[in-house]
Symmetry: C2
Subunit: 527 residues, 2 copies
């Protein structure tokens, strides 16, 4: 039976945190007013105890079978679903995102959990390799060498403001860390602590009903940075997952790098997701592309890390229709609340800094954290001179950059910081004409998209939600899709081990029937 009551205290394994600290509350973004109940920050003592719990669980959970981990992940999904309306209502209250969006995000969150369940139940993700011995080899006999991915250890996960479910307590970082066999300590986002507590209760209940050790999961509340930073400093923590601002992500990267034992940080931070509308596309279907752009940059009130924030257009007769259409749609966009007062303040500050570039703006709404959609425009020359224009504006705004000279576009692409995505609209001839642009973009982004906007990240085996710094801290990785599990894994090799002492994944008989690299050849058979 899940506890649908929100208590406001941290979840420390099977236990609960105290109510000794100062209380804080969530806000209703529609009104800007705080809403109950009170939440209480974890103390340093509670944090330390939690880290120790996780470390004590590390070996036992790390040796849990793929089948058992799959059961656990599926139970979390089932528990989230059985929270039903209470989870949707609380998330809607704390984020002002529509119920339909929260329901769809819950669907994605549960799908992710089940995707990782399927992955670890099948088992081939461990990259098992066997190189057999050759005792006759001269001058030195060849040893028996086998290796596979093993869990990296306890993981700290920081919830994202903009995805209260899919990138929060039971989101992709937690799901992939559990799948890898790592205990997880989650830092709740102070903007949606009630949602966090409900999701955490779904996990805590799954830990119990699956008979796993309590240290597998904890949730810590805090309304300042101290506890989160102290968590990253704890020697028991071996990796960090974070989705948030560039400043916040870099702070955690710096803390992790300065530890006695530096650890990997997977921070997804900021991206302006440049979009390049190529000449033929603009001419052939400019208004259609403009309409889709409006849908993309205002989706979720523009609070997506994949929001198209820079749109490059070639100077041509077709530009007018595109821009007029987009301006008209922007002006008629209803004002909507952002997630927090701070995000609203930053958005309005950025919009104000770009006032001279304003092309269209929607009607205002004075209530709560509501803001107006805005469309800005400038030229490539001006853009090249003012590097601040390439910074992320988190909210429903985008910037059109018109260019009369293709070499400006190449120069901009070349000097651009790392991005999660880049989109190109064109036909095949356009793509061919702009091979150099594509080649440059490929060195900067995690995902290149042809004829679509980057919002709506498909959760699948091939997805890469990553990119060069500062889009993420680690361009080798992805936080979405099955490869996300690799972030919380490390390689371990067993040399000369007798069969009975090897993990099942590395036994000759291949009892799990997984794909392996046997003496250099892929096989899902025994050897």
């Amino acid at each position: 039976m899940l506890n649908e009551q929100i208590e406001g205290t941290s979840i420390l394994g099977n236990g609960r945190g105290s109510k000794k600290s100062d209380a804080f509350r969530a806000f209703d973004p529609r009104t800007g007013e705080p809403v109950g109940p009170d939440f209480f920050s974890a103390s340093i003592e509670e944090l330390n105890a939690t880290a120790k719990l996780a470390a004590d669980t590390r070996i036992a959970f790390g040796n849990t079978s793929g089948k058992k981990k799959a059961e656990f992940l599926r139970q979390i999904a089932a528990n989230l679903e059985s929270l039903g309306g209470s989870l949707v209502e609380r998330a809607t209250l704390e984020t002002a995102l529509p119920a339909a969006r929260i329901q769809s995000e819950r669907g994605r969150t549960c799908s992710q959990l089940r995707m990782f369940a399927d992955l670890v139940e099948e088992g081939s993700w461990v990259d098992a390799r066997i190189d057999h011995a050759d005792p006759e080899r001269a001058p030195i006999p060849k040893p028996d060498v086998r290796s596979m991915l093993r869990p990296i250890g306890p993981v700290a996960v920081f919830c994202a403001s903009n995805f209260p479910l899919a990138f929060s307590v039971a989101g992709g970082d937690t799901a992939s860390a559990f799948a890898a066999g790592c205990p997880v300590i989650v830092m709740a986002h102070p903007a949606h602590p009630g949602t966090a507590e409900l999701a955490a209760s779904a996990i805590q209940d799954a830990v119990r009903s699956c008979g796993l050790p309590e240290g597998v999961f904890s949730l810590l509340f805090s309304n300042n940075f101290d506890i989160g930073q102290a968590l990253v400093r704890r020697p028991e923590i071996k990796a960090v997952g974070f989705t948030g601002s560039r400043k916040g992500g870099r702070a955690l990267m710096d803390i992790a790098a300065a530890r006695t034992e530096p650890i990997p940080v997977y921070a997804e931070m900021s991206s302006v997701n440049p979009t390049f509308i190529l000449p033929r596309a603009l001419k052939e279907r400019g208004e259609q592309i403009a309409t889709a752009l409006h849908g993309s940059f205002t989706l979720g009130v523009g609070q997506f890390c994949t929001k198209p924030g820079l749109v490059f257009l070639p100077e041509s007769g077709a530009i007018e229709g595109f821009t007029n259409k987009l301006a008209e749609l922007t002006a008629s966009t209803p004002a909507s609340p952002l997630l927090t007062g701070r995000i609203k303040m930053n958005y309005e500050q950025s919009a104000n800094d770009r006032r001279t570039l304003q092309r269209a703006v929607a009607a205002a709404d004075a209530r709560g954290f509501a803001v107006r959609a805005e469309l800005f425009e400038t030229t490539a020359e001006r853009f090249l001179e003012d590097r601040e224009l390439s910074e992320e504006v988190f909210g429903p705004a985008t910037l059109l950059i018109t260019s009369s000279r293709p070499e400006h576009i190449l120069e901009i692409a070349q000097s651009m910081e790392g991005q999660l995505t880049a989109s190109i609209f064109g036909n095949s001839a356009d793509l061919n004409d702009h091979a150099e642009l594509i080649a440059i973009l490929e060195t900067k982004v995690g995902r290149l998209i042809f004829n679509a906007y980057p919002t709506g990240v498909e959760v699948c085996h091939a997805m890469v939600h990553g990119g060069v710094y500062p889009a993420t801290s680690d361009s080798r990785s992805t936080s979405v899709g099955t490869r996300a599990i690799n972030r919380f894994s490390r390689l371990v090799c067993y040399q000369g081990f007798p069969q009975e002492a090897l993990p099942d994944e590395l036994k000759d008989t291949n009892p799990l029937v997984i794909w392996r690299l046997i003496d250099g050849t892929f096989s899902n058979g025994s050897v």
Copy 2:
């Protein structure tokens, strides 16, 4: 035609560095005397020009086919071999390692190059994945998503002192970076600059004869840390490979982490490679294990990162035979020269610090950088009290730790820093009795070895030459074996791309006939 003449200047693409800086020389470790010719450190201007050359080459070399990269790697191996005696003679002169060792290391170096050639010619290493579109899916159509590993960009490689060929100019870091499609800038080790220049000429010649752009490879000389550190700071550099001291590796890690754009550093730094002799093994074959230990800890004058530096023995009647045998072999070991005067100084300082623990010592030799093999012994109680005893001593020494209580061994394992390897000698019953020890060691090391010493790292698909910090900077990776290529790769995703604009690895027809994950299923066919 390879240039077998040693000029002493850096190799900057097709050009050469100036002779303006102060000159430095290599030393003959047998005499301790400098040997000609003069070598000249690269200037900051030369370094900057080299970094720019590498960056300019990045896209072109990154788009080089696997087949072409294989040709290049094989040509480097052929060129190294055709250097013949001149390479062996120079390396022998600069390191005092026997010609047979240098020849065998050259064999390994060429094998590594050819292994990566085979790997990229076959092509499946890129982890290609295809998830097909489903335009009918409701409520949102599913896009076509494809992804694979792509080169990370220009790589800085720092040569190791102790492997003048296999972990130096044309060693594993360079070979795997080239295989991934990354230009490489190598910092020569000042202890064997002539060897470095000869190996570099083999690469430079291969770049030319394969018609690759000159920026693919450069070699920089320097006899201080400034140029190497400046190289890691260059924005063009996107990853670092290093083999050397903990202090040196950590310095590069800190520099890389403090960059505007932090980059991955793969540093292999220090390891004491704990060895656990379990009771039955000690009783059944103690003297045999002792003889093999002597061979392992004195191999290469003890200058292996995998040298067994700590050996744990259970208190028992069998211990006397083991220790006496080892003491006798140690005492009769000929004194041999270490690689540099600094390594000798550090070794003698460490040995002196442990003087009270000395059990056996070989006869001295006053010539050059020669040192004596030493055997130390202590108890687990004393070891637990003195953390300095767990530090690496680079050279022909090892420390025996006897223990009467198994819980001391667990405590030591639990509190031990990360290691490249741990070895366990026992029979199957021992292994079963010590499951907890194995489980703890698995969280610390890259390779667990049963009934063998860690020296002699097999180059194969399954090898993991890695481990938890401070053994390496990044426990997710290996610097030996085919997986080493992943260190210099990052994920790139192509969404909605037309077939003709996709890399061959991701085309439906699978023209390269590689293994791919197609809609979640492994296949080497077309789709």
